[in-house]
C-alpha cells in the first residue's frame, strides 16, 4: 500500500485544495468574527447561515449556551467540508522490549537468542518465533553488512522533513534475522548490498529505535 501524488491523480484534490485555500484565506481574513458570522457571510449564496436563527431566538427563557469565538475552517459548502482536528498523547510502554532501548542508551545493540533452539534475532523478540521458548538478550556485533537498502525522497508526514534518508536492513555474522536502521555518511548512489557498516549511537538518547544508526565501516 502506498500513495503517490500523481499529478493527474491529484486533480480532484487540487481542485478542492484550491477551494480550500480560498476558504481558509477567507476564514483567516475574518479572524475575530464569530463562526456564525463567518458561515452566514459565506452562506449568502445559499441563504441564511446555520446557527443564526437559533441564536436570535435564544432569549425566550434566558437560557443560552455561551457563544465562543472559535470558528470552523470551511473548505466547501456543497457538500460542506470542514477541517476536523485531532491529536493525542499516548502513554506507551516498551514493556518486554524495554532492555533494547535501555541498551541503546549504553551504546549497546541488543538482539536476542533462543536458549532452546539457538535461533538468533537481530531485532529482539522475547519469545522465539521458531519454537516459542523464551529468548535471552544477546549483544550484536557493531559491524554488519547491508542486506538491502533504499533512499526515500518522500515519506510519511512525520518524516517528510527528514527526506531524503536512506533505510537499510543490516545483516550480522552468526545472526539469523535482520535489523532496520538508517544509513548516513554515504551518497545515495554509492550504497551497495554487501557494504560493511558500523553502528553508531546518539550521545543523548531519545529511547527510540533511531538512537542507533549505521555508517560505512572503516
Amino acid at each position: 500500500m502506498a500513495g503517490r501524488d500523481k499529478s493527474r491523480a491529484e486533480v480532484g484534490a487540487e481542485g478542492s485544495a484550491g477551494r480550500m485555500s480560498r476558504a481558509e484565506a477567507g476564514a483567516k481574513s475574518s479572524a475575530g468574527r464569530t463562526s456564525r458570522a463567518e458561515v452566514g457571510a459565506r452562506g449568502s449564496t445559499g441563504g441564511v447561515g446555520p446557527g443564526r436563527a437559533g441564536a436570535d431566538k435564544g432569549g425566550a427563557a434566558g437560557h443560552k449556551l455561551p457563544e465562543t469565538l472559535e470558528g470552523s475552517i470551511l473548505y466547501n459548502l456543497d457538500p460542506i467540508i470542514l477541517k476536523w482536528h485531532w491529536e493525542v498523547d499516548y502513554v506507551h510502554s516498551y514493556a518486554q522490549d524495554s532492555p533494547f532501548f535501555a541498551g541503546l542508551s549504553q551504546q549497546k545493540l541488543l538482539g536476542s537468542r533462543c536458549a532452546a533452539c539457538g535461533y538468533v534475532y537481530a531485532t529482539p523478540r522475547s519469545h522465539c518465533m521458531e519454537c516459542g521458548a523464551p529468548t535471552a538478550w544477546y549483544e550484536l556485533p557493531r559491524e554488519g553488512r547491508i542486506h538491502t537498502f533504499t533512499t526515500c525522497y518522500y515519506g510519511g508526514e512525520a518524516f517528510l522533513e527528514e527526506t531524503p534518508f536512506t533505510l537499510v536492513l543490516v545483516e550480522f555474522d552468526g545472526v539469523d534475522t535482520l535489523f532496520l536502521s538508517r544509513l548516513v555518511g554515504v551518497e545515495a548512489e554509492e550504497v551497495r548490498i554487501g557494504m560493511p557498516v558500523t553502528a553508531r549511537f546518539l550521545r543523548n538518547s531519545k529511547f527510540r529505535a533511531t538512537d542507533v544508526y549505521f555508517v560505512p565501516a572503516g
Binding site: 480532484g12 517528510l160 532496520l180
Partner: protein
C-alpha cells in the same frame, strides 16, 4: 495444511458492484458509497430481495482514515440489513480479500444462504503524506515505524533485494506499469488510466529508490460489493453464478527484518531442484502469498497454475509486487518474475501497449488495470478484484465496462489475490464458471 473444504457447501458469487475509484468522493460518505456499490449488485440480480439476504460482512482497513469507529455496522444499518448478523473484517491491504473469504465461510458453513460482502475506504480525508504515515502504522511501532516508516520504502528494499538475487530490472517493472495503466484505458471504474512509456515511468519523480511515482498505486476513495450465496439462492436468482472453488490464506512475520531464510514452499508443479541454493523467502519473496496459493490450489484441485488459470487479478500496489507475486503464485519459477512479467505472457492480446512483446499473451494479469491504475481504496480493493473477476467469468465485462476490450476470451477459471503489510496477510481465491 491439507484441508480442502470438501465437506462444505458449494458457494457462489452471484453479483457485484463498485463505485468509481477516485481521489476523492466528497459528495458521498462511506455509507453512501457502499450503498451505490450494493445497489448496482442488487440491480444485476433483480429477483433477489433484501429479505433474502441473511447478513453482511463489512471491511475497511483504517479507523484513522475513517475517523469513525464501528463504521462497519453503520454501512450494514444504512443498507437496511439490521437486525441481521454482520461483522467487520480487517487485515491491512488484504482486508477486501479476507472479507470475501469470510462471506464464503458464512455460506459454506450453512450459517447463511446469502451474505453480502461490502468494503470501502475513504483515504481523501487526510493529506497524501499523512495518509502514508497512517499506513506506516501498519508496521511495528517500536522498531520499524520510528526509523522512517514508509511503505514505499519497505517495498523498495524488498525489490532491491529481488534485483540482487535474480537480476530483475527497473525496465521490467516499468512494463508492468505500462500494461496495467493501458488496460485501465478500457475500464471506466479506474482512477488513473494512462498510456505510458518506459521512459515516462523511469523519469517520473523518485519516491524511494528504485520506485518512482508511476511504480506505485494511488490512494483512493471507493467501495465495492459482492453478493455471495449458496446453491439454492444462486440458482433461483442468477443466470450465471460463478463458483468459489478454492480459498487460501497465508501469513508472515510483521517485521520484514524477521523473515527467515529457509526452503521454498513448493507448489505441485515444482521440485526442490528448481530452487537449489535459494534462501527463502528472505525479503525478496512473499511466503504468505505462496502459502495462500498452495492452499487455494489444493482446495480447487489445481496441479499446474500455468496451465489451469485463465487470468489473474493480483495486488500490484507496486510494479515490483506484481513481479514478486507471479512467482509466489507459481505462474513462473522464483527468479523468473522479471522476464516473465516483461515478456508478454501477462498482457492482454488486444490492447496496444506501444511495446514489442516477444511472448504471446497467456495468462492476463490485472486485465482491469490492477491497483496501479484502478486505485487502492484499501477495504474495497480485494472485493473490486472479485467484481472484475466475476464479470470476466460471466462473460459480462463488455456490459459492465461498456467496452469489450478487457473481456478475457473463454475465461473459465480466475484467481484473485489480496495482500497486506510487507506480505503479512495474503489471500488467494479461485473462482470458476460452473
Amino acid at each position: 495444511m491439507t484441508k480442502t473444504g470438501a465437506f462444505s457447501r458449494p458457494v457462489y458469487i452471484i453479483a457485484g458492484g463498485i463505485t468509481k475509484f477516485a481521489k476523492a468522493h466528497p459528495g458521498m460518505d462511506f455509507r453512501l458509497m457502499c450503498k451505490e456499490a450494493f445497489d448496482y449488485a442488487m440491480a444485476d440480480v433483480p429477483t433477489l430481495t433484501v429479505d433474502m439476504i441473511d447478513g453482511s460482512s463489512l471491511s475497511y482497513f483504517s479507523d484513522h482514515f475513517t475517523r469513525q469507529l464501528m463504521a462497519g455496522i453503520m454501512v450494514h444499518d444504512y443498507l437496511g440489513l439490521c437486525p441481521k448478523p454482520s461483522r467487520r473484517i480487517e487485515g491491512g491491504g488484504a482486508t477486501g480479500g479476507l472479507n470475501l473469504q469470510n462471506a464464503y465461510q458464512e455460506v459454506a458453513s450453512g450459517r447463511m444462504d446469502c451474505c453480502v460482502a461490502v468494503g470501502f475506504e475513504t483515504m481523501s480525508r487526510v493529506s497524501t503524506w499523512k495518509g502514508n504515515e497512517f499506513i506506516a502504522l501498519a508496521s511495528d511501532t517500536n522498531f520499524d515505524f520510528p526509523v522512517g516508516g514508509f511503505y514505499t520504502g519497505y517495498y523498495a528494499m524488498m525489490v532491491r533485494r529481488h534485483m540482487h538475487e535474480f537480476g530483475t530490472t527497473v525496465e521490467q517493472m516499468a512494463r508492468v506499469s505500462i500494461k496495467n495503466h493501458a488496460n485501465a484505458l478500457h475500464n471506466p471504474y479506474a482512477q488513473f488510466p494512462a498510456r505510458l512509456t518506459v521512459d515516462d515511468v523511469r523519469s517520473a519523480e523518485m519516491v524511494a529508490t528504485p520506485l518512482t511515482m508511476l511504480d506505485i498505486c494511488t490512494m483512493s476513495d471507493g467501495a465495492a460489493c459482492l453478493i455471495v450465496a449458496g446453491e439454492e439462492v444462486a440458482e433461483r436468482v442468477c443466470d450465471h453464478p460463478v463458483r468459489i472453488t478454492g480459498i487460501g490464506t497465508g501469513t508472515d512475520a510483521m517485521r520484514m527484518a524477521d523473515r527467515p531464510h529457509g526452503d521454498v514452499i513448493l507448489l505441485p508443479h515444482e521440485s526442490a531442484a528448481d530452487y537449489a541454493g535459494l534462501r527463502y523467502p528472505g525479503v525478496h519473496s512473499f511466503r504468505a502469498g505462496r502459502m495462500a496459493a498452495k492452499l487455494a490450489y489444493a482446495m480447487a484441485g489445481i496441479g499446474d497454475p500455468r496451465e489451469e488459470i485463465d487470468f489473474v487479478e493480483l495486488h500490484d500496489a507496486y510494479t515490483s509486487s506484481e513481479i514478486q507475486t507471479v512467482e509466489d503464485l507459481g505462474l513462473c519459477l522464483y527468479g523468473e518474475g522479471g522476464p516473465y512479467s516483461a515478456g508478454g505472457a501477462t498482457f492482454m492480446p488486444n490492447v496496444d501497449y506501444g511495446l514489442e512483446l516477444p511472448v504471446t499473451p497467456r495468462v492476463p494479469v490485472n486485465p482491469s488495470g490492477g491497483l496501479l491504475a484502478c486505485g487502492h481504496p484499501v477495504g474495497a480493493t480485494g472485493l473490486m478484484q472479485g467484481v472484475f473477476a466475476l464479470w470476466q467469468l460471466q462473460g459480462t465485462t463488455a456490459k459492465h465496462l461498456g467496452d469489450p476490450t478487457l473481456q478475457v476470451r473463454n475465461a473459465r477459471r480466475g484467481l484473485i489475490h489480496s495482500h497486506a503489510g510487507t506480505g503479512t496477510y495474503v489471500t488467494v481465491t479461485i473462482l470458476e464458471r460452473p
